[in-house]
Amino acid sequence: MVETLRIALVGNPNCGKTTLFNNLTGSNQYVGNWPGVTVERKDGELKGHEHVVIQDLPGIYSLSPYSLEEVVTRDYLVNEKPHAIINIVDGTHIERNLYLTTQLLELNLPMVVAINMMDLVCKNGDRLNLELLGERLGCPVVPISALTGEGSDGLASLTMEQASRHQIDERPHIFTGSVEHAIAHIEESIQEKVDEQHLRWFAVKIFERDEKVLKDLGLEEELIGHLEKHIQDCEKELDDDADGIITNQRYASIEKILAEAVERNSSKEGLTTSDKIDMVVTSRVFALPIFAIVIWLMYYLSVTTVGTWLTDWVNNGVFGEGWFWYGKGAQYAADVAEYSQAEVICQPIDYAEFVQALEKSPADPMAWQMTEDVAQYLHFDSPASVTEEAFSHFLADHNWVGLAYFPSKVESEKNEPAGVQGVSGEQLREKRRLLERGAPDPERYSGWIPGIPVVTRRLLKKGKAGEAVQSMVMHGIIGGVGTVLGFVPQILLVFFFLAFLEDCGYMSRVAFIMDRIFRRFGLSGKSFIPMIVGTGCGVPAIMAARTIENLKDRRMTIMLATFIPCGAKMEVVAMITLAFFPGSFWVAPSMYFIGVLIIILAGISLKKTKTFAGDPAPFVMELPTYHLPTLRNLLWHTWDRGKDFCVKAGTVIFLACLLLWFLQAFSWSFHFVGDMVDDSMLASIGNLFAWIFSPLGFGDWKGAVAVISAEFAKEQATGTLGVLAHAEEASTITVVQNMFQEFNSAHPGLAALSFMTMNLFAPPCVIAIITAFKELGSAKWGWLTVLMQACVGYCISLIVYQLGAFFFDGGMLGAGTIVAFVLIAIVLFLVFRPGYSGKPMEHRI
């Protein structure tokens, strides 16, 4: 078997690494995580070379031991020893990029430096002597353009050639005499203890007093003391700390090399295009308005318009009844409109309405005409003498006589009186015939594609599948897959916009603009975007947190983002508002307000815990040069992240949906219960938990089941109440009203309000929870998040209900009221207590 050649791709963030990786590997990529950490790892087969694997390492600035990405990279390079390194360097920011290069060279692995964006360098009028640069660095240097793919093939073959060479050229020592002297000493004394190949790298790290290397090597106290003397001598001589000395001299040597190898275009001083863009985009006056417009545009396109169309199409079309091909279905829509108009016009009237028409009749000509017609037909002298019995005979024959006689009623019910008022008897008969033919069947029209459930139901019927099997396939499997796929269009759109914002360089500016606000409650400026996306759907919101590099910030954003009510939750809000607070303007906005308040208070309280304490991560961030992203890159990013969601979350969500179906469809004795949810396992689970919700005002098993099943899709909260009431005919609004009257006759409205806040601020739907687990990268953090969210939702609901009851009952103090006040006191304590001031907890790496 041929040994696989591993080539590691290393470079700064924003240097075109991903683009180069895609050029080199084409579509043969596989994504995984680095063992034990959430940093993503991508491997890909080199195009046309079966046994060469390119490994895309995280974008980093240095090999310091302080960030997860850097540690992952250096551990990989030192322990796994790739056969060669490709170090990609952004030619337009060459000075800072070469800093990493000087560190990589010390690893003594075969290496090639690829200078990217050479076209831009040339355009700026700068001249780069690559041959000289390679000579000074001690490794080959090649120009490439990742964007156009130029130079990739040459780079690949050169790297493979380097990897196959057994001898690595001696690399120049870049530090000054005394430092090199100390390093030589260190090398000598650790020679036996480390891999010979990486000797110099280890020596430099020990000189820098790199905590992690010192800990891993476990050198004897005596030896460390001896080496420390050399290091301190250097520090004294150069009046700086050891790590400062090393960094200084690295940059000094780069400056020296570049002074020789680069010929700067002196005439071209002044502002670049990127500078000019930034003069507007991050200016004091325009920054916030532009930011608002960008966010609005992203939200508008991905959440409200295009995203909703696509989601509706998936939910109601592909996973609903069916849909029409683009451009088809106009005839169907027209026929449906005509049919429903006929329905309104021909809606039969009853005797009571006849009597009403009689009362109006002299003044209302239509009513008069109708009563006269009826009287004439039944051979009565005057309409007033028509008996109820005779009228019912008349209806049996002539129930086409309908609302057409009541234009005022038509107007109020259907708001389209035009064309109705003057409907003649003949036209009415025609409408009646239309109704007799039944509602238009979309399947008879060309271009109709039946939805997956419709086709499946037919197949199941044909195959004579049992009721339980049918239910499982329809509700469990197709319902589950449909739920997952319904999220895909929105997620892809959000990812597309995020990729655009990231690629063009605006995302860093977002952090720059918003940092001041968000760091007060322990979040990063970039947390704003997940929160905005969260108003649409929590799942892409959680995934959008990936753009936050800092682990603590990312964690906290994931934990808090779903407190913003999402689109599905707004359906619950709408229903409760309609049922209990019709026409009130304050319910929905106050839910957003509570959501924002929770994020702020929870952020402040979390920041005072030991785990999140300490300075917010160093906000030392590069503001990359703006550039127009390529469509290929954007689509690749979108697909890359979207695929992740489908594969990883999809499988788990699918299983969760199947489980819910199972609990809902079977009793404990595994009898299929069908629609009789009362007998299901879910109902008894609800019974078990009902008492928990008593302090919230709805301690009934139905309320508990509604809360539990809403965990699978928030918009189901009120729908479940409808199912449980077995009230197929009544509208959901009436059902909800009756249900809460039953739960809590004293304060049905308050109970409904607390039911709503429970659904809104308790853990998000299971899909979002699973996504959060995946993105947090650890079960411990996942459970902590769910627990925290459950507590918050419960406390908010308790406070809302108990305080509401307290005020409505005229200040009657009960046990619940006291608990509510205690909870408020606890919240205030958590927010205002002095924060943890000890040593901030380091990220465990």
């Binding site: 310091s64 302080y66 060459i94 400062g244 200084n248 940059y251 906000f619 590069e622």
Partner: protein
Amino acid sequence: MKTLKDVSIGESALVRKLNSVGPNRRRLLDMGLTKGVKVTVRKLAPLGDPIEITLRGYELSLRKSDAELIEVE
């Protein structure tokens, strides 16, 4: 003692010393804020913090609290 925070917008200064500690210090060093390097303060974020500086041919943003720990001349 003048720090980077005191440098007005549009002005340049040379870095003298880094007083920050731990990961912050290392990060600043890694990003090229070494002794003697010339930095130009470009602008203030719309809400007054952080600041944007140019050094070694690229743009970097950092908080005022970090800038305060960088001695310049």
